[in-house]
Each structure stands twice: as structure tokens, then as C-alpha cells.
Symmetry: C2
């Protein structure tokens, strides 16, 4: 779907918590041409306030439920802090947001589980590791009952929120008087969820797998998986070299490998290596006179620089194998980095120093009391990511602040 970008102020204000949460960071359109508008129009910071009333017009009966919409749009936040390209933009690009409407809370909760499993698969495809946490009350999406977040750890030790999933309960439905007719003829408010990811995922992909030269794309999602670079020699016939390149390219393309040959004549092979490395292409295929004579190709991995000589007749299978290996290596390395940067400090002092040293995420026992939570944030000068939802074990330690017994583990980190 595509819903309107401009949201009249009265619509945005219907859900009280929602407007309170967003009003400080909304861009307002106040003039059309040279005339003042009768009502201020918000550049959408999020779309619940336009989607909810539309669904209420279309899905009047339980038989029309569930309704599941999604759109890919830009959203706006008037950030007063320093902006960071792809990470903290005022215009957030390619925000992929889902909005779902259900007859019962149980069904909405199942949708939330499904959203979480979709995002897990998505980030696994990208080899981006994640921590799943339930945000504390004071850091939920404005208007939600519950916000679940995916965070990753960036190379500098700060965390980046890369996806969120919200249980909106009936809050928006109530504000917009959005109801459906149940089988027994009575009316009830919808149960809603929303969840989304943005261009930030690209920032995570670049930062986590990249190096000082540029990005290194996981083969499964790389638009170009392999680039062929001919290495001409004066004494060797150019035709012969280019024919071999053509055969190689065609063989790979016909088997579904996303391949390109770099035949530009004004660049040296070295300049081409750098060009494609900077663009993150996973595999480079070097072809010189020796390769032509021996019916081979030299394959170089973008991430490790490792070289292998491969026979032309086996090149498709060998490339598939190398790409699978590279995909697995990137994933293993990224997860190892994440795990190395999650710590369990045993005292508030330890918590404070590991945050100060930018050593990633701290996991500590927390009773769940907001006072203790705020104390954790203030003392560490960091933010709660929330309660860990993806740990196989619960804690047996008491709350790090008040000493009361608990089973919950809170995560704390410097965040982007």
C-alpha cells in the first residue's frame, strides 16, 4: 500500500501518548503557496494515524480480519542531535513498515512472534548478528503496549537498533474509534501490531562486514557476486584473452551467478581491483595468459584476500562452494564479535567501567523496577536496551541495584 505522507495535526493527536512521544520531533507543514494552511500537517513520523482510520472503513466485520498491510516509504524525524548518514537521518529512507489488525490479542501476539521470526531470517541472510530485547516502559514506541527491538553491536562498541516490533494493543483503535463487528453482533476495538526496518540495516551491513577499503557484501545478497578482471600481457593475443573471459562469464551467468566482466581499457588491473573492492564484490576472478593456457581462473576472496586456482570446467561448483564458505565465515565472524562484546559485570563499578571503555553490551540482573532501571542508566551513563528475550537461561543473581531476587536480565549499552 501507499498511505499519504501528510498527516493533519488533529489525526496525529488522537492517541494522546502518541502525539506526546512524537510532537517534539515532527516537521510541520504550515504554508501552501504563500498562504497559511488551516491546520498544520505533519510529515509522517510513522503511519498508525493514517492507516488505522482507513482500515476502520474497510474491515468492519470479523470476517475481514486479520488485515495485514505494508508499505515502503520515507519517514521524518526532526533530529536535534548530530545526524549520521544512514543511521540518524532526518529523512529516513526505504522504511519498510507492516501494520496488522486482529480480532484478538492472542492473534496479535502470534503476529509478533511471526514478525520476530521473519526478522531473524532476514538478518541471518545478511549475516548480521542481533540481540532481541524488550524495551523498558520509558523507551517504548509512543502508544504501544510493548516494543521489542533487534540491536546489533557496531565495530566501535555502540549498539544500533536495526528493527522494532510493537504490540499496539487497542490504543490506536480506541483513539480512532476503530471497531469491527464480532460474530455475536457486538463491536470490539481492533488489536494492532506494527513493525519495521529501515536503511539502517545497510549501515549495519557495511560497518559489520566492511573494512577500511569499503563494504564487503555477503555473497547471498551481493548484486554482483563475482567480477572478472582480464590481465593483458603485451606478448599475449588480446582476442584470445577476451574470448576466454567471455566463455567464463557466460558459463557463470547461465548457472545463475551474478557476474560482470570489467573490460574497461583505460584502467589498469590494479585500479580495477580497488574499484570493485570498494564496492564490496565478494569474489574477484583474475584471468591472464597463464589461466588461458591452463584453462583455469584465479579466484580471490574480498574478505580474506585468500586466492585459489580453479579449473574452468569446475568453476561454477567451486564458486558456489567458495561463496557458501564466505557467507558462513562472515556470519561466524560477526556473531563471534557480537558475543565477545556482551559482558556480565558483577557490580555497578564493573558495569560503569566496561561501558566507559566502550566494550559493548552489559547484561545484568534487574528486578524490573523503573527506579532501579533509571539508576542503572544514570550510573553507567548508558541506555537500557531492555530485557533480554533471546537468552536460553534466566539469571539467578539478585538485582544489581536493589538486591531483590529476579530472573530477568537487562541489557545496557551506549547506543547510536
Amino acid at each position: 500500500m501507499l498511505f499519504p505522507q501528510l498527516i493533519p495535526e488533529d489525526a496525529l493527536a488522537k492517541e494522546a501518548e502518541h502525539i506526546k512521544g512524537f510532537s517534539g520531533e515532527v516537521f510541520w507543514v504550515t504554508q501552501g503557496g504563500e498562504r497559511p494552511l488551516g491546520i498544520r500537517l505533519a510529515l509522517r513520523p510513522t503511519s498508525e494515524a493514517v492507516i488505522t482510520p482507513m482500515v476502520a472503513m474497510r474491515a468492519r466485520s470479523h470476517r475481514h480480519l486479520p488485515v495485514k498491510y505494508y508499505q515502503v516509504v520515507n519517514i521524518f524525524r526532526f533530529e536535534t542531535k548530530m545526524t549520521v548518514p544512514l543511521i540518524r537521518d532526518r529523512e529516513v529512507l526505504t522504511f519498510k513498515e507492516a501494520h496488522t489488525f486482529h480480532a484478538t490479542h492472542e492473534e496479535a501476539e502470534r503476529q509478533i512472534e511471526e514478525a520476530i521470526s521473519i526478522y531473524k531470517r532476514f538478518f541471518d541472510e545478511l549475516s548480521i548478528p542481533y540481540l532481541i530485547s524488550q524495551r523498558p516502559e520509558w523507551d517504548k514506541f509512543a502508544g504501544a503496549l510493548r516494543t521489542i527491538s533487534f540491536d546489533t553491536i557496531m565495530p566501535d562498541g555502540r549498539t544500533l537498533q536495526i528493527a522494532t516490533v510493537h504490540d499496539l494493543g487497542q490504543n490506536f483503535a480506541r483513539a480512532f474509534e476503530a471497531t469491527f463487528e464480532k460474530p455475536d453482533g457486538t463491536h470490539e476495538y481492533y488489536w494492532q501490531t506494527s513493525y519495521g526496518i529501515s536503511g539502517r540495516v545497510i549501515a549495519a551491513l557495511i560497518a559489520i562486514h566492511g573494512d577500511d577499503i569499503g563494504p564487503c557484501l555477503p555473497p547471498r545478497v551481493a548484486p554482483i557476486q563475482a567480477v572478472i578482471v582480464p590481465i593483458p600481457k603485451k606478448e599475449f593475443p588480446q582476442n584470445c584473452l577476451l574470448d576466454y573471459v567471455r566463455v567464463l562469464e557466460e558459463r557463470l551467468r547461465s548457472k545463475g551467478v551474478r557476474v560482470r566482466s570489467d573490460l574497461r581499457e583505460d584502467l589498469t588491473p590494479g585500479a580495477k581491483y580497488y574499484w570493485w573492492d570498494r564496492r564490496g564484490v565478494p569474489l574477484r576472478l583474475d584471468v591472464g595468459p597463464r589461466e588461458v593456457e591452463t584453462n583455469t581462473v584465479v579466484v580471490v576472496r574480498r574478505d580474506t584476500g585468500a586466492r585459489e586456482t580453479v579449473a574452468l570446467e569446475r568453476v561454477v561448483a567451486e564458486l558456489e562452494r567458495m561463496m557458501q564458505k564466505m557467507q558462513a565465515d562472515l556470519r561466524a565472524r560477526a556473531w563471534a564479535f557480537l558475543r565477545e562484546n556482551v559482558h556480565q559485570p558483577r557490580s555497578l563499578e564493573e558495569l560503569r567501567s566496561l561501558i566507559a571503555e566502550r566494550r559493548g553490551v552489559a547484561e545484568v540482573p534487574w528486578c524490573g523496577d523503573p527506579d532501579c532501571g533509571q539508576e542503572l542508566e544514570e550510573y553507567s551513563e548508558a541506555k537500557l536496551l531492555g530485557i533480554a528475550l533471546d537468552r536460553e537461561f534466566e539469571t539467578e543473581q539478585p538485582c544489581l541495584v536493589c538486591g531483590r531476587p529476579t530472573r530477568k536480565v537487562a541489557r545496557i549499552a551506549k547506543r547510536y
Copy 2:
């Protein structure tokens, strides 16, 4: 590419004609949170003012030219007239705009020819007929040297602009001091073009091929080309019918036909007919006991209602044939309608009455003088579409207003 949506007022104002042309219809963002912004930000009415300076940073040498960018975005016009869904929206959706930068005017002009031929192919695929005209000086894109427009004639006799192509000359480059280095080391302003189409094309597609029930999509672009509707009978085994439907669907799908079976149990066949007719699916395939017994299927065309019984073993070829025929018929019918609605009045009175009767487009000899052009507009109470560019012949009649000799033909119509 994706360029920013918010354009600071000073950037939009750099090209004087440009801001003059757009300022009356720009939405202005003036507040961020509750604070006034230091400078007003326009919701992009078009993107020259953000793309030109960006290209100037990236393409400093003739070796980097031509540069060709395109983006799919929403654009905004503060329309004071009545809005019309898909035709005159304040938020124009899926605007597909190209921006090109060249070293010479000749190269830019070749790009314009290419753009025109791309749009011809595009509209031919959609079976949408068009008139190509060069807009008069007073109706060019603000900042352009020349604007070429594709217009179609809607069923009510009014024309709809469905694509525009602009020769921007060096106007924007000059305003933004956007230059490149030539081979001889001197600097020159870029020669620019821009061209675009929007969601209006969908409006034209619906209006031109549709009827009172709904749209009728040309088979080549229909997301679903054929829908199979089983027609159960009490005395006939349901399994047997559904197996046959499955075989039919699989056979079509395996050959690339975009097909769907409607197996809903709570709708009658008649309700399903209506459902799919309203969605414009080109072919309906009815399957009842008789078809199962004779290994046939009844194919019904959305546009004419014509029915054919087709043998299952030849169904793929027959459907391909029928879809080609339907595509050609839709195109022929649409072009015939357009041609019937283009007239050559011999006097101003004739011009005025045919416009008053909403009989489409008038073509009249015009000397090109703006005074005569304005006279044509005022007398007919209609608008000049501009000079016909797609006529095989030139006129030998004198200008309809002043009687001076001319070869040019102007088009005049009531426009959306």
C-alpha cells in the same frame, strides 16, 4: 537514486524562472518540533534543485559525462483547484523522473529523442494512445527551454497529460554554477534534460480501457492474466472438478501465464465473475462438469464478453492467441477513439463550438505568435496543448487568427 525530499528555499530560488513557476504551489515546512526553522523547506515539487548541485560535485570532467540518474518518489503540488484521485493529487505518487547531464546541446537533444521513443514504447505496451506536442512558451516547465508533452484523450473528451520531456538547456547549471572541465581545460555548464511519468498513467489505463464495471487491463501488463472459476454441480463429484482445475492451472502457469484459481467456497460463480471483472482480469476460464467431460475450457474475454470453447491440450497456445488479439483490439479501439476525437475546424466559430461540445482536440494552423495563441485559448475557452510534433504532414492553411502563412499546427483542448 533517492534524493532528499526537503529542498531549502534558497536552493529552489537559484533558478529565477523555476521558483517563479513553482512558488505558488509549494508546501512549506516551517517548523521542526515546536521551533521555527531558520529557513523554509519546500516539499519537492520537482528535483532539479537538489540533483544539479550533487552532479556538479561528482561529474567534474567531460570524461564523467553523460550522467543519467533516475528516481521513483512522491512529489507535492499545493493544488488550489479541486483534486481528482490519481489525476490531480497534492501528493503525486510513484513519480518516475529521469535527470540527464551532457557535454553538448546536441547530445542532450538526442537524449530527448530517446526519452520520447521510450515513452512511445511504454504507452504502446499499455495500449494507451497519445498526441505528442510541444507546449507553448507560457506553459513550459518552469526553467526549461522546451517542454514536450504526451497527452491522451479521456472518455469525456478532455485531454490528460501523461508524460513530459524537458530540454533544460543550461539554465539550472548556470544557476547552480555547475560546470565540467572540457578536453581543452576550459569549463562549461552542463546541458540538462529531465523527463517523467506518474501515477496518472494508471488513471488513463483505467479510464481508456475500462467500462462501468471497472478497469480492463491489457493482457501484457495484467498482474493476473486469467482466472479459473470452477462451476460445481450437485450431481458431479467435487474432487474431479477441482483436480481438473489444478491440472489446467498448472499447465498454464508452467508456460508463464499469470493465472489464478478462485476456489473460495462462500461465493457463487456469478459473484466471482463480478469480483474479477471489477479487477480487470483480461480472461476468465469457466470449468464445469461439461468441460471436465470433454477436456475443454470456456474462455471469456473481459472486454467484449466473447466466449470460446478451447481444448485442454491446446489451451496454452489458444490463450496466447486470444491475449494477443485482445491486446491488439484494445489498442486499435483506443487509437480509433483518439483519432475520432481530433478535429480540424476551419474557423474560430467551428473551433469554439467543438470545444464547447467536448468533442476532444482541435488542430488548427497557428503562426506561432503568442498573441494569436492566447487569442485561440481565450476564444475557445480551452488550452493550447502546443505544436503537433507527431503529424506526418504540415499545414498549408494560414494562421486561423491572423491569416499569416504558417506550416505549424496547434492543438487545443479542454484539459484535466
